[in-house]
């Protein structure tokens, strides 16, 4: 690990200013991703600004019936929150399917959103990787492809975003609140992460030094029943090959509202808008679900080593929707 200075700011605005003034500084929250990347020398900050105690670790009711989650709320506490479990079951399930008990106790809401890809080439400084070393090439194109993207990738980068929580937040239309030197702004979670294009080194639309202060969940109407299903190489403590977060509201056999987001398939949590539009007002049947899932995946550009993810994503979407249909009866 490279030497660094450790600092604690007094409040959010001084943390934001301190980071803006130090070109090689990084925010530290739970550290479960950043410390690992520093040990691998993938991340080499000269200054760490510890924000864990500065940002809120509370979950509060919003006037519209939604919830505001402080960016320092640990993943375990969010998953166990009674309101989250009752109103947004998919979010609780997504969190619980991620990492391990020990990690979830430490990992924060903000850090989870901004965790970096688990692509083995990104994590290995001896191999080319356009995300870590722009212009060096993408090793995955001729290498390990099982965990790579099938949607929205580019010739420069086929990495996936590893967060489970972010997939549920994308399906729920959550938004992050962000504090920068110019004040606060609000960004929908679906617009927070980027597709790689030819600048894969940028994971998100955040400007350098912007701090996530919280996440806002809209009221849960039409979002129940909901569910998160994760498919992976071992039953627990593994990243998703494919995951599906979905909510389905059916009235008189017709889809009134549907939300679907996919994980493990793209550089960002993938909101399945094509499938959602196909389903709005359609009969709530297995056939509509299959057609909608197929429509979403029509644009998939798998690699030889991960072509299996296309039917896997399709079948997982269909089975989750069928389960929700049953649950809603």
């Amino acid at each position: 690990m490279k030497p660094f200075r450790y600092e604690r700011a007094d409040d959010v605005s001084s943390a934001v200013t301190a980071l803006a003034e130090e070109p090689e500084a990084a925010f530290l929250a739970g550290g479960t991703n950043l410390v690992d990347l520093m040990r691998l020398e993938v991340a080499t900050p000269e200054v760490l600004i510890d924000v864990r105690r500065l940002i809120s670790d509370r979950i509060e009711e919003l006037p519209d019936g939604g919830l505001r989650i402080g960016a320092a709320v640990p993943n375990s506490d969010l998953a166990a929150d009674d309101r989250v479990r009752r109103r947004y079951p998919m979010l609780s399930q997504a969190l619980l399917s991620g990492a391990s008990g020990q990690l979830r106790n430490v990992a924060t809401t903000g850090g989870n959103l901004l965790q970096r890809t688990r692509c083995p080439y990104f994590q290995n400084v001896t191999t080319p990787c356009n995300k870590r070393a722009p212009g060096s090439g993408c090793s995955a194109l001729e290498g390990h492809q099982r965990d790579m993207a099938i949607l929205g990738s580019s010739p420069a980068c086929v990495a996936t975003h590893p967060s489970d929580m972010a997939v549920a937040l994308a399906a729920l239309d959550a938004a992050v609140t962000v504090r920068g030197t110019d004040g606060e702004r609000r960004i929908p979670v679906t617009a927070l992460h980027r597709l790689p294009g030819d600048t894969p080194e940028r994971d998100t639309v955040l400007a350098r030094g912007e701090l996530i202060t919280g996440v806002e969940l809209p009221p849960p109407a039409h979002l129940i029943p909901s569910r998160y299903r994760k498919v992976r190489d071992r039953a627990s403590f593994a990243f998703a090959l494919v995951s599906v977060a979905a909510a389905l509201d059916v009235a008189d056999g017709t889809v009134r509202e549907v939300r679907i987001a996919l994980g493990g398939v793209a550089h960002k949590p993938w909101r399945a808008t094509t499938a959602e539009s196909a389903l709005h007002g359609a009969p709530a049947t297995g056939e509509s679900f299959r057609d909608a899932a197929a429509a979403e995946l029509a644009r998939a550009t798998p690699l030889p080593g991960n072509a299996f993810k296309v039917p896997l994503a399709r079948n997982t979407m269909v089975s989750v929707l069928l389960e929700l249909l049953e649950e809603g009866r």
Partner: protein
Amino acid sequence: MDVEITLRVDGTEHRLTVDTRTTLLDALRDRLGNTSPKKGCDHGQCGACTLLIDGRRALGCLALAVAHQGADIVTAAGLADGDGGGLHPLQRSFIAHDAFQCGYCTPGQIVSACGMLAEAEAGWPSAVSKDPGATDVVLDDEEIAERMSGNLCRCAAYANIVPAIAEVAHR
């Protein structure tokens, strides 16, 4: 870059100067001579370094010591020194069930199980909980395996680890 910190480890206060790069795991093992937490992977993937930090189970290998100024840390060695001075019920149960082979993962398993039982007691759900809203957790074998999935055992003593934890859970 050196920083002075205090840590409370297994009930004893320690003042030490650490390089900012030092993890809690390295501070405990190399500076304080407490080799109860083990280093299996140093990447958060195995659970051998599990500690209770301020009462919650967490990984020593991903925790920077400087970020834990004043923290209260419990290791498997500290669990043994409980009230009666004897072994913790989980430690006794691991021995009774022969829940290890080489023993390298064992301190991490035991500390993790201790934290896990408190989480279940608090009504926290897991990924296999049938009713995510239920606040009464029934720790059957599937729940124990899921909640302990952050602790790998290279000797695959799982078949005995799960019953060892179940016995304490069902008391």
